[in-house]
């Protein structure tokens, strides 16, 4: 017991101390989280009428974000597959970071769903055996099950792994490997279930297409890993944690394939709707061209298309893929592109025109955007905290003390300022340390 308490004390020390940049980052997130909480309070008091959702467009910004983030969470598996199935060492060491991203993303998903439902006080109705969960008929019930399962799975694996490293013990492969292998179908399942949620609705022809589940997976495998590449580059720059170029490049390659499939499937959808030219063309027309004078989403979707295609070229061409600047640009473009395409670009056209062909043009209200921002800040906060503990453990900088009870923190200036890095670089020239330093 004492050990666990000391471990927690150690994590508190780690998360409480850092560079100026770290304080600014965390402080900024805390401010956004508070604003988001305020927006949620307003929504709880006045009801969902403070959003711009109405009967005609009954799901909006919250569910758009939810859908996108389920994809990000699923993409953690992209790191696990090569690592454990193909025994690819360069990725093996960083797969844990992908799982921590999955945990943060799922936390955000759960928060978005809670923000969206009309009676959050009745959440217990969803708990199997306590309430009534309409499993297996309702796809939402499936989503509740698989999302929580995936969250628990990733938490268990990550915590177990890191906790053992903290104790300088080798994690038991017989425990971790089956769980890690199981997380592959689990990741695919969360996103397939979320896709089926939309797919199964005959009332909404924009979603009632078999291509939806494959498209979801393809776009998920673009957005999540792109975010991870950005995180890896940051970690490489600011800490002693080593991430090999090969690992980053392999992930970038896989993103290129995923984006190709995404673009191809999108092309297939566009062909089908425009060539057949049935009344079901209307939502796609609304999205890409505007419908009966309504075109709020048109500039957004074309921005997303341009971003996606540009990013695809960046990831495809080895030259731009290897260059760090263009790589970073590609990751940012793809993340934003998929966010738009799979968020508002997927959910809203399902409702425009509505089932009686009415057009209500939905744009999120201020409260919705503030609350969504607060939830994103919460997710980033959770991810920051998890990394703040995980990286020192993986580095060997945070482990149990020699007495076997207390904790030891080596390099606790985890997030170095430019001046500190230069100082350290000078020191390295004079006294090369035992471990090699980070890449340029």
């Amino acid at each position: 017991m004492n050990n666990i308490w000391n471990f927690f004390k150690g994590t508190l020390v780690l998360t409480a101390r850092g560079s100026t940049a770290y304080y600014f980052w965390v402080g900024g997130l805390a401010v956004l989280m508070t604003l988001g909480a305020g927006a949620y309070f307003v929504q709880l008091n006045e009801g969902l009428i403070v959003t711009n959702m109405r009967d005609q467009v009954s799901w909006g910004f919250y569910i758009s974000n939810f859908t996108f983030l389920v994809g990000v969470a699923a993409a953690a598996v992209l790191l696990v597959i090569p690592a454990y199935v193909y025994h690819w060492k360069p990725i093996k060491e960083i797969a844990i970071l992908g799982e921590l991203l999955a945990v943060s993303a799922i936390v955000m998903c759960l928060m978005f769903v809670t923000a969206d439902i009309g009676r959050p006080d009745r959440f217990w109705h969803l708990i199997p055996f306590v309430g009534i969960l309409n499993f297996p008929q309702s796809l939402l019930a499936w989503d509740v099950v698989v999302l929580n399962l995936y969250l628990s799975l990733n938490l268990v694996i990550a915590v177990y792994y890191l906790y053992n490293l903290y104790y300088k013990r080798e994690p038991n492969k017989k425990f971790t490997t089956p769980l890690l292998l199981f997380s592959i179908p689990a990741a695919i399942s969360i996103h397939t279930v979320t896709a089926f949620l939309y797919n199964g609705l005959a009332a909404r022809p924009f979603w009632n297409a078999s291509i939806l589940a494959p498209r979801f997976l393809a776009s998920a495998f673009c957005s999540g890993p792109a975010f991870m590449i950005l995180v890896f580059l940051l970690i490489r720059r600011y800490t002693r944690f080593q991430i090999k170029d090969e690992a980053v490049q392999k992930i970038a390659e896989l993103i290129a394939y995923a984006m190709f499939i995404n673009l191809f499937l999108l092309g297939a959808e566009i062909f089908k709707e425009y060539y057949s030219g049935t009344v079901h063309l209307a939502p796609m027309k609304y999205l890409l061209q505007g419908l009966h004078g309504h075109s709020a989403l048109v500039p957004w979707i074309w921005t997303a298309m341009i971003f996606n295609f540009t990013a695809f070229m960046i990831f495809l061409i080895p030259g731009t893929r290897k260059n760090n600047t263009s790589l970073v640009l590609g990751c940012i473009l793809i993340f934003i592109g998929v966010y738009i395409e799979k968020g508002m670009g997927l959910v809203i056209p399902g409702f425009i025109p509505d089932v009686l062909h009415e057009i209500y043009e939905y744009i999120p209200s201020g409260t919705e955007m503030l609350l969504a921002l607060g939830i994103w800040a919460t997710g980033l906060f959770v991810f920051t905290m998890l990394l703040r503990v995980a990286i020192p453990i993986l580095n060997g900088d945070f482990h149990v003390a020699d007495d076997g009870i207390g904790f030891h923190i080596g390099d606790n200036m985890f997030f170095l300022s430019k001046a500190d890095r230069e100082k350290r670089a000078m020191k390295t020239e004079e006294n090369p340390p035992a471990e090699s330093s980070e890449h340029p």
Binding site: R119, R122, L126, N134, L140, L356
Partner: protein
Amino acid sequence: MCTKTKCDKNNAFQKSRRKVLKGLAAGVGALALPASNASASVWESFFQKHFRELDKAELQQVLARLESEYSKEFGKDVTVKATPPIEGVKFGYGLDLSRCIGCRRCVYACVEENNQSREPQIQWIRVMQLEKEKGVFLDAAEHYYNPAEVPEKGKFYMPVQCQQCENPPCTKVCPVQATWKENDGIVVVDYNWCIGCRYCMAACPYGARHFNWNKGTLTKDEINPITHYLGNRPRPSGVVEKCTFCIQRTREQPGRYPACEEVCPVGARKFGNMLDPKSEIRYLIENKRVFIFKEDLNTQPKFFYFYAT
């Protein structure tokens, strides 16, 4: 299916689960002392089980609690019934498109009878103005028509409300089974169980389901005090509602016509028991040109549009 041992085990489990929930409600209610009746009922309402799980005594308790809440809120005697379906009845509805003139009296009669919020406005019936030349072609539908007089030349009118489908897409998707189809064919919602996720609204092809985006307004003068638990009782914020074929009227013995049917000045609306060979609805299904709205979706509505002439 439920084998004997499985059913028994399930029953035993359900009994113990009921005991736990009852205990929780009582315990937390007791903890709320010295509380006014209001907070005790808040806890009771929080822990209230699904309508279909309530036994007779619990149901009476719930109805009594609701009656006292509503009566207090509206300052008049409100009754809440839970009349079960009548045996051997499957309701059907007919709508004569050759007669409807689009006057919308059905919309407002429904609002009055079923205690819908006036502000923000909720209307269970939506009348579409369509063009005779194009037939039932929704792209040319006008929902907000407001000419000096109806019917307008060259137009016809199609009211849409819950079709009480035999194969409802909405009941399939509800994650907590807050909406289901009863034996007389009416698709109902337990307003105290619904979590407001609005998945059923996305699933409904007829736009028949409506959401309480906030508490809504209903005054003492506006409220119809004769209500049904699954029908027209005042709804809380954050739950879904829809047409229930005036369940508070139609399930009585003898059962009254729904409000929309009664108020229609041209007699375009027909209602009855489809299992009764002598009913109006059977006659029109057997003898008139009947069609189903969005038939290709296989929802099997019990709402039949027809042309009498």
